[in-house]
């Protein structure tokens, strides 16, 4: 076969054999394929879609939902080469060190390794997402020199940090892995990419200790088999669950689900809008707060992040607050600002107010979960229901962080904060979601607490690995794409070791 082939041309009944099969051609699958390019490993990548959007393929994602409103399951994902990078926003930022820690106030928290284990992979991940120089803590002085100093804050739990962005080309979306790396994938002599290939079953050996083969189907009726020494499941935080649960021929509860964990702990980053108003006494703040700026090969934007120390001592969750747009204060707000600035001895003649938004970290919740339902898709696979939750405590903890920011602005005499939302109903009014699918095949050394181990191998299954953010035990507030790419690079190193 050539590097990119069409599974619809594979005769039914064919058995394809390879060293490693990657199920899914999204950012994780493509990263893994690229990382194995220089190794004498025969790799087969199976992608359900083609190279562009297709309604029939996308409808395989249809599902149902209960609980709080969430993006429809067929809209929160993109089922063709490139996966989630076909519609991502390009926001990049590494997870914080505390995100990896077992936090006493966060049930089910704790990765099986520290951030230091991922640090060596971030520069390469940054390069793959094309986000420019790796400088998330503002050491990149030219930005500040060019656009002005960050907002001055008193000492405390909130600090100025940075997002960097996957590059945009003109009006094009950020780096789309399918489009961007298609040519590179085609150059890999040991890689075959099969498009329009839907894995419908992961068939275990009778002892349930290894994958025997994969059943693959196409939407034009083809059915064939793939046998591989190693299998990596990389279809995203929702579809990974469907395939594991539906592959119940040997393990009746689904693969990796002996402890009823697969599909539980679904997480996303809530993105409530207009959470608060920030008033800058001194006038407009640096332009890298309310909008992306370009400089020295990077696209960047400031964010107000929570220090690891504040998380540890005040038991809040992670959050990344962004400055959105200028707003007008009501008469009471104007009176408050005038009175406060005057009392602080500040001239607030140019005071400027902004609406704030944020990306929050949810507490893991085992009841926020994906389950199979009786409805089936065009290939006969059961569909999913997502039960979505968000706790009052999630809002309350973020509100506490915003109050801390207000305190720090007053301490620095640079501004103040109005907390816009105080009831669940109010928070939900402007709720948006990051469409970041995290946690459903969580990583833990203990099989009773995790689906995969620290090397992303499914507990109890010798040759099945899972790549992607579904393995994150907690989600942090940072956007997952660059982080899952870094984790996949780490997996690639492990996989290389399996083929001496």
């Amino acid at each position: 076969m050539s590097a990119f082939s069409d599974a619809r041309t594979v005769p039914s009944g064919t058995v394809l054999e390879t060293d490693l099969v990657i199920i899914g051609g999204g950012p994780a699958g493509i990263t893994l394929a690229l990382s194995l390019a220089d190794k004498p490993i025969r790799v087969l990548m199976l992608e359900s879609g083609g190279t562009s959007f297709d309604d029939k393929t996308q409808s395989l994602y249809d599902g149902t939902q209960t609980g709080v409103p969430y993006t429809p399951l067929n809209a929160t994902r993109q089922r063709y080469l490139g996966g989630g990078t076909n519609h991502w926003g390009g926001w990049c930022r590494p997870l914080d060190a505390s995100d990896f820690e077992q936090r006493s106030w966060v049930p089910y928290s704790g990765w099986p390794f520290a951030k230091a284990a991922l640090d060596p992979y971030y520069p390469r991940a940054q390069a793959l997402v094309e986000a420019g120089p790796f400088d998330y803590e503002g050491k990149y002085k030219p930005w500040v020199d060019k656009y002005g100093a960050p907002l001055k804050l008193g000492a405390g739990g909130v600090y100025n940090s940075w997002f960097q962005f996957s590059k945009m080309r003109g009006s094009q979306l950020p780096t789309n892995f399918g489009e961007r790396y298609a040519a590179d994938l085609k150059k890999i002599s040991n890689l075959t990419a099969l498009l329009h290939a839907n894995v419908t079953n992961i068939a275990l050996a009778s002892d349930a200790k290894s994958v025997d083969h994969l059943d693959v189907a196409t939407l034009v009726g083809g059915r064939f088999t793939v046998k591989a020494k190693q299998v990596v499941l990389a279809t995203g935080g929702i579809e990974n669950v469907r395939l594991l649960l539906a592959s119940n021929g040997v393990m009746k509860q689904g693969i990796g689900n002996g402890n009823d964990l697969v599909g539980r702990f679904f997480m996303d980053n809530p993105i409530p809008r207009q959470t608060a108003k920030l008033v800058s006494f001194g006038g407009p703040i640096a332009p890298y707060y309310p909008s992306n700026q370009h400089g020295d090969g990077a696209i960047f934007r400031a964010t107000l992040a929570v220090t690891d120390d504040y998380k540890r001592t005040r038991h809040v969750m992670g959050s990344l607050t962004t400055v959105e747009n200028r707003v007008e204060l009501d008469d009471f707000g104007k009176a408050v600002v005038a009175t406060t600035a005057s009392a602080l001895g500040i001239d607030a003649g140019n005071a400027t107010a902004y609406a704030l938004g944020c990306g929050m970290e949810l507490k893991p919740d085992p009841d926020r979960r994906l389950t199979l339902i009786s409805a089936r898709d065009a290939l006969g696979m059961p569909r999913l229901n997502l039960h979505m939750t968000i706790g009052d405590e999630d809002f309350a903890l973020y509100r506490q962080t915003m109050k801390e920011l207000g305190r720090q602005l007053l301490a620095a005499r640079t501004g103040m904060i109005h907390l816009d939302r105080s009831s669940r109903e109010s928070w939900m009014e402007t709720m948006d979601w990051g469409n970041h699918h995290v946690g459903t095949t969580r990583m833990h050394d203990d099989p009773k607490q995790g689906v995969v181990d620290a090397n992303l191998r499914v507990h109890g299954i010798g040759n099945l690995f899972i790549a992607g953010s579904s393995t994150f035990p907690t989600c942090g507030a940072s956007n997952p794409t660059m982080n899952l790419v870094a984790l996949t690079l780490r997996l690639a190193d492990h996989v290389k070791g399996l083929f001496p």
Partner: protein, 128 residues
């Protein structure tokens, strides 16, 4: 924010300076007309010494009414006595910054404010 509000705030230092000349009736009258906000009531009241720390009495009163709406047993005389002790050796600005540093902040209709500022504003609203 509206340009008129910015202009109002920008004039505050000038108004405050003029407010110090409140004994000169003609000047005080002119300021009241210009700003539409500045009153002389508090400066002459029983807590005038404290309320002089606030730049614009009408704004402070608006804030203070909101504070009082959440207070069930506000006792002006006791609060004034406490505020006089607090402000005896320090400027209001220094007190407010210190309170922010010490996390002595409260919410008033969603605004995060230093404790002493809310008490001063409440006093302005409660003053006869």
């Amino acid at each position: 924010m509206s340009e008129s509000w910015k202009a109002s705030v920008a004039r505050r230092p000038l108004l405050a300076a003029l407010g110090g000349l409140a004994g000169i009736g003609i000047v005080g009258s002119a300021v009241y007309e210009v700003s539409g906000l500045m009153g002389t009531r508090a400066a002459h009241g029983p807590y005038g010494d404290l309320l002089a720390n606030l730049g614009d009495m009408n704004n402070a009163t608006v804030v203070g009414k909101a504070v009082l709406a959440g207070e069930s047993s506000f006792q002006p005389a006791k609060v004034a006595e406490s505020l006089r002790r607090t402000l005896r050796d320090r400027t209001l600005s220094d007190v407010l910054v210190a309170e922010a540093v010490q996390n002595r902040v409260v919410e008033t209709q969603g605004w995060v404010l230093p404790e002493t500022l809310t008490r001063l504003c409440a006093l302005a609203a409660a003053a006869p």
